[in-house]
């Protein structure tokens, strides 16, 4: 099956530079090659049908038919050997520890600003910095309970951190569903190859959520707060609620009385203690943030401040998602932990720094420009692939609001063999591991591997024609 697969260019996950199969892919490669094309096609169709039937879908915004799409799934797994994963795990834990310390510091003494490690201006001007929460004690001191950190590999195979998602990262349900699908399609492989399981994520998540329950509540009621059935990640919200065995609620199911949160039930109001919210800060409480929000719960922030309900993630973590703050994460690691970052950043230029700005404006056609507070592949310029007009448009945007832009060299992401209609071809991939911070930090082995299905495309977002793969972390190194 994979006989004709060749390395396109850059780093290939499966093949080394001499076109030999890397040791950790060896067993998979042999088992997979034993399949006939007809067997493979039958498995592929079975998985596709199963996903559609189970409603493993995401909603596309702006699609009038309310269309749900199946997140395209590629059957060739991305494989990570044990040693490599250990290193990633340490790097991710280091990073989340530093980010949580940073948020705690910023919302308290602001030592890192006073010591001049990060210019004060950048923090105070960050769109998601919530000054209302300065000196507020979040439960157990944890700000980011659930983090999705995007990792990529460059042309030499080095892992780099592309961004941190510390607000409401999504995608973990696909990790779990992809694995289920793969186990059904290739039951024998799991026995033979030795793949670390991912199934206990919901239990770990629930544990982290219960850990932050308000003091004195012995058996806390935990709920998932969703914006509703039309949100693109609604499938995931219900999926996680079901797996954790807790209620999924919408804003209209909750109300606040005497600074306490209740849900409306058929037996009358029932108290709620911990909310895993999948709604951004801006929409969570119309009395505090956006008044026009129909999704939130009036009075929720007040109840949160009174310590009667805990939120995960905490309010104000969006500061860490700001792409300008990303630039400073290596400094945070050094400052708070006195360590060198295990996982480096992608080299980044801040448009607000005079020297960097000059460089950015001179090299726009080579750079990737990103708005500081956008995600999902929006608000982005891919210099090498952009038209003259697009480049000029971004030049104006950057000059008008330099605080809001960063630029990075175009990274030629690693590639992975992927089924493309009638043959296997290399497609660019990234990796989003999910990190939970509770009593301890736990990381689901692997994470979501996203793949840019269009040939040559470097954008892996589901909203931009991306698909996903199962990610196998091995018990051993081959």
């Amino acid at each position: 099956m994979l006989k004709d697969y060749k390395v396109n260019a850059g780093f290939d996950e499966m093949l080394d530079t001499k076109a030999g199969v890397r040791p950790h892919y060896d067993r998979f490669h042999r088992l997979f090659n034993a399949l006939t094309p007809a067997e493979f096609e039958a498995k592929r169709q079975a998985v596709d049908t199963a996903f559609l039937r189970q409603g493993v879908t995401f909603n596309v915004y702006g699609d009038a038919a309310g269309a749900e799409k199946v997140f395209p799934f590629d059957l060739l797994p991305r494989i990570i050997p044990a040693k490599e994963w250990e290193n990633l795990e340490r790097g991710l834990a280091q990073r989340i520890t530093a980010l949580n310390l940073f948020l705690h510091d910023i919302y308290h003494d602001q030592k890192i600003l006073k010591d001049g490690i990060i210019p004060e201006f950048y923090v105070l001007s960050a769109r998601h910095f919530r000054r209302e929460f300065v000196n507020f004690e979040v439960p157990k001191g944890i700000y980011i309970h659930v983090c999705g950190t995007d990792l990529i590999r460059d042309k030499d195979g080095n892992y780099l951190v592309l961004e941190d998602n510390g607000r409401c990262p999504s995608g973990v349900s696909y990790v779990l569903e992809n694995r289920r699908a793969m186990k059904r399609a290739f039951p024998g492989m799991f026995e033979n190859i030795g793949v670390r399981p991912v199934e206990n994520y919901p239990q770990e998540l629930l544990k982290s959520l219960k850990y932050i329950a308000p003091a004195g509540v012995a058996d806390p009621t935990v709920v998932v707060l969703t914006p509703g059935a039309y949100n693109s990640a609604y499938f995931e919200h219900t999926y996680l609620a079901r797996q954790m065995g807790i209620e999924i609620v919408e804003g209209r199911d909750l109300f606040v009385r005497d600074s306490r949160v209740f849900m409306r039930t058929t037996k009358g109001p029932q108290p709620v203690h911990v909310i895993y919210r999948r709604i951004d800060d801006d929409f969570i409480d119309p009395t505090v943030f956006r008044r026009d929000s129909m999704l939130g719960v009036p009075g929720l922030v007040h109840a949160y401040r009174a310590g009667n309900v805990s939120l995960a993630n905490s309010i104000g973590t969006g500061l860490a998602d700001d792409k300008v703050m990303y630039y400073f994460v290596p400094r945070m690691i050094k400052y708070y932990l006195d360590q060198e970052p295990i996982l480096p950043n992608v080299p980044t230029y801040l448009a607000n720094e005079e020297k960097d700005l000059k460089y950015i404006l001179e090299h726009l056609p080579e750079l990737v420009v990103k708005a500081a507070n956008e995600s999902g592949g929006y608000g982005m310029l891919m210099g090498p692939k952009a038209s003259k007009e697009e480049i000029e448009k971004f030049r104006e945007l950057i000059i008008a609001d330099p605080r809001n832009y960063i630029a990075q060299p175009m990274i030629f992401l690693s590639q992975h063999p992927t089924f493309c209609g009638d043959e296997f071809d290399g497609r660019h991939v990234d990796l989003r591991p999910f990190i939970l911070s509770g009593e301890r930090t736990s990381i689901i082995p692997g994470g979501l591997t996203r793949v840019a299905l269009r040939k040559g495309s470097l954008v892996v977002n589901s909203s931009q024609g991306g698909g996903s793969k199962d990610t196998w972390v091995l018990y051993g190194d081959e």
Binding site: A229, T238, E250, R264, T265, K267, M294, P298
Partner: protein
């Protein structure tokens, strides 16, 4: 259980039941027309129009179609999404409600409902319909029964399940009453019909078939089909799962399982009304009903079903809910009072 969740489970079950009933009505009517001779356009309308009237969507129908032709009625009842109660609309809404409570139902149930949804949403459905309407309706009915079976045997029978039961039985009782009313023009307004001719037999048999009641009826009454016996069977039979008495009995049980109140007591209006209706059906005879007029009696029944539904909604779902604006005001007042209280306590402490 969240009120919204109870509401969604109720409607999920109702819409599934609705889709199946409409499939049966249309299917049986198509078959009936094969048996009736000398059909001109006017007589055809006399068979199709009552079906539109029975679903209670006459007004919506004539907005979309000038004549109650067979083609127009089937299109309206089966595929048209402009009709909120068409088979396709009902399935879409059942699935939408299930999606809202995806965490409360089983994978098996969701998969089957989702499969049915994708079946009616794709061109395949029309092709099946074109090739053989009978096969098409068979698929809808089978899927509905499959879903009802999965609801029964894979869901935990907790509070939410009983809400789904309430939805199913209220819809079933309502549809049985409407099917029974299909031929009201052919019987006297009050009193029993005197002579029963060949066409009447065909038509009242069709009513039984529309309720999947043919075999059950025959096992009790043999081959004799008369309006009186059919009406008695569909209204007052104690054991047939689509008779109105049976449905209201089950509805009553479900309501009491939700509240935990004994059968001879009540703690809300829904239970009061349902209990009363059970007693009424237990202690009525079909001759009294014909004497008072079957059509009027069925009309009244449908109103009672609606009242039970509304009372249940008021008890469990609708809790005095201010608008968002009002809620924001309440919160702001509460918070101000609190900060004033904090302030004064701080002053006293000094």
């Amino acid at each position: 259980m969240l009120s919204r969740v109870a509401h969604s489970l109720y409607w999920m079950a109702r819409y599934i039941e609705r889709a199946e009933n409409i499939a049966r009505i249309v299917d049986v009517n198509l078959q009936l027309l094969l048996d009736i001779r000398n059909l001109d356009e006017k007589r055809l309308v006399a068979y199709w129009l009552p079906i539109v009237q029975a679903t209670g969507d006459e007004e919506a129908f004539f907005k979309l179609h000038p004549h109650a032709s067979g083609h127009a009625v089937t299109e309206f009842l089966v595929f048209q999404t402009e009709n909120p109660n068409s088979i396709v609309s009902s399935i879409c809404q059942a699935r939408e409600n299930a999606r809202m409570v995806r965490d409360q139902i089983t994978l098996e149930l969701w998969e089957e409902l989702n499969r049915l949804y994708w079946f009616v949403r794709t061109p395949t459905a029309r092709q099946v319909w074109k090739d053989s309407p009978g096969d098409f309706f068979q698929q809808i009915k089978a899927a509905s029964l499959h879903i009802i079976g999965l609801t029964y045997s894979t869901l935990i029978h907790n509070e939410g399940w009983w809400f789904a039961q309430v939805g199913k039985f209220i819809e079933r009782a309502d549809k049985t009453s409407r099917i029974l009313d299909l031929r009201y023009k052919s019987i006297p307004e009050k009193g029993l019909p005197t002579a029963v001719n060949q066409t009447d037999v065909l038509e009242w048999s069709a009513i039984l078939r529309s309720c999947s009641a043919w075999d059950a009826y025959k096992s009790i009454h043999g081959a004799e089909v008369s309006p009186r016996l059919v009406a008695e069977f569909l209204l007052l039979n104690e054991d047939f799962p689509r008779s109105i008495r049976f449905c209201i009995g089950e509805l009553n049980v479900a309501l009491r399982r939700i509240s935990g109140v004994a059968e001879d007591r009540f703690c809300n209006d829904a239970e009061k009304l349902a209990g009363r209706l059970v007693a009424e059906l237990q202690f009525s005879t079909i001759d009294e009903i014909f004497e008072a007029g079957l059509h009027d009696y069925l009309d009244l029944l449908q109103m009672k079903f609606n009242n039970i539904g509304a009372a249940m909604f008021n008890t469990y779902i609708f809790q005095p809910f201010s608008t968002l604006e009002e809620e924001i005001m309440v919160q702001q007042e509460e918070q101000q009072q609190q900060s004033r209280a904090d302030h004064s306590s701080r002053i006293t402490h000094h």
